[in-house]
Amino acid sequence: MKQTPYFFILPSILILAFTSLYPICYSIYYSFFNWRWGNEKDFIGLSNYIILLTDKKFWIIIKNTFVFAFFACLIEITIGVFLAIYIDRIKYGSTIIRTLLLIPLMVSGISVTMLFKVILDNMFGIIPYFLSFIGIKSNFFGSYDAALPTIIGLDVWWQTSFVFIIILAGFQSIPSEPIEAAKMDGATEWEVTRYIRLPMIRSLLFLVLIFRSIDTLKVFDIIWGTTGGGPGLATEALQTYAYRVAYSFLEMSKSMTVMVLFSVVVIFLTVIYSKFNKDI
């Protein structure tokens, strides 16, 4: 039967249409209204977009989100690649090392939140306690300057092993001949890594970069659970802001406008990725 494959694929299409196309269309539609949970829904054109995009606060939030994503990606990819370079050399015990390093990735964002709230608590935390010995009075989540770097630190602890585990797998799939040959010619370990290993896993590095950047831009759990966006606007990101707009300010349409604008960025990054990766 010629239609068979379409019958097989139809349930997936229906479910994906309901769970992805419908929310997008719904959000775009109601972003032109002034719906605030009640029955009153008036068409207000582009007002929500204009209000948001001319709001200084909104730009601070965009800046926060991108600063968070940039530094979290940079640190995670740097540490992850270095870890992979070192641990690639290990033959004995590499499975147990990999398993232990994978643990943070399996933990929920809200548990990471609880973990670091306990450890970094100003009054009772173990790290502020140790810091007090060297005369540092720390305030990790409460101070305007430290809050965002602290949350970047949480994300680094949580997600670095994603980079590490993928890059390591990439290194281990490289054939050994070119590396042996380079070593015969007198290349040092670092030269081999710099000129052979890293170039050979270019496409994986790109995959990691796109996945991590989208994921960090979407940050929600670890901000909502720790600072809730504060102090002030210091750690407010796009998704936590959309949450706050919908549930604290009760402006549903405005919240959906935020998500529409944000989705455009995510879609843009995804399209770039699929353009470069022909497998998809």
Binding site: T4, P5, Y6, I9, P11, S12, I15, F18, T19, S20, Y22, P23, I24, Y26, S27, L83, I97, L100, I103, M106, V107, S108, G109, I110, S111, M114, L115, V118, I119, I126, W157, S161, I165, I166, A169, G170, S173, E189, S203, L204, I214, K218, F220, D221, W224, G225, A242, Y243, A246, M252, S255, M256, S263, V266, I267, T270, V271, S274, D279, I280
Partner: protein
């Protein structure tokens, strides 16, 4: 000389991995130690290194019906989500492998896009429609919206596992008169069981750990464990025992999973583009 430098490299490698493991494991160990300290000893200064362990915090959690319910809810939501996604995905993955489908590339791109969309985008539209069709705050509603993430992932994974099966096997099945259903059920299913398990575990981890959608689409009956853990984060009076204990309880099943799925996790994390 060469040998010496090789050992030097190896020793550095072990030192680096030791530090990485310490940074990874120490915070969790500390959290666990706090969770088995009694109320008075939790935050003494200096910290008490020697203490009588108590499981009082865990008993309190067990007696806390609200928290126990969230654990049960998460279990069922996870189970329904992964079962649904595997059943639907296996047919789609089979169709993508076996047949020439028009708009195949577009479909695959749509999968990636759905997988990547930000969580909060779904919350308000789904809230509205769930309210009107009556599946707000239910297991089914939660499992349904989670498909937006787990279904693309499942199709991806199962397809990459199916691609590894030689086409000859498939042709042989047809010559023997199998229809597509029989081919899937009798030939492919047994061959990709490891793939199905890996997919289910990775999806399970994601569903179990999801918070943003759950906050918006559950109120009481279907509240998952992430919301349960979050309920201990109160600002006014902090229940340290509840915080530490509930975080540990929510971590345990996932940490157990890592040990089982370790082999397939790499493949899963890269949507099949790297062999694990």
């Amino acid at each position: 000389m060469n040998k010496l430098s090789k050992y030097k490299h190896l020793i550095t490698a072990y030192i680096v991995s030791f530090i990485a493991i310490a940074v990874t494991i120490l915070p969790i160990t500390w959290l666990f130690l706090l969770s088995i300290k009694s109320k008075g000893e939790t935050f003494t200064k200096p910290p008490k290194w020697v203490f009588d362990p108590t499981i009082q915090n865990y008993i309190d959690l067990w007696d806390n019906d609200l928290f126990k319910d969230t654990f049960v809810n998460s279990f069922f939501i996870t189970l329904i989500s992964i079962t649904l996604s595997i059943i639907i995905a296996i047919f789609a993955a089979y169709a993508l492998k076996r047949y020439q489908i028009r708009f195949k590339t577009a479909f695959m791109q749509w999968l990636l896009l759905a997988y990547m969309l930000p969580e909060f985008l779904f919350v308000l539209p789904m809230f509205a429609i769930y309210q009107s069709i009556g599946i707000y705050d239910t297991y089914i509603g939660m499992a349904l919206i989670y498909q937006v993430h787990v279904l693309p992932f499942s199709i991806w994974m199962l397809r990459s596992f199916l691609e590894e099966i030689p086409k000859e096997i498939d042709d042989a099945a047809y010559l023997d008169g199998c229809n597509p259903f029989q081919a899937i059920y009798k030939i492919y299913l047994p061959l990709i069981i490891p793939g199905i398990v890996a997919t289910a575990i990775l999806n399970g981890i994601w569903v179990w750990n999801e918070l943003a959608i759950a906050l918006g689409l559950t109120f009481f009956d279907a509240q998952p464990i992430t919301v349960g853990v979050a309920s201990f984060r109160g600002y006014a009076s902090i229940n340290w025992g509840g915080m530490t204990g509930s975080a540990i309880v929510s971590m345990i099943p996932m940490i157990l999973f890592v040990t089982f799925a370790q082999k397939h996790i790499v493949k899963g994390l890269t949507l099949g583009s790297v062999k694990g």
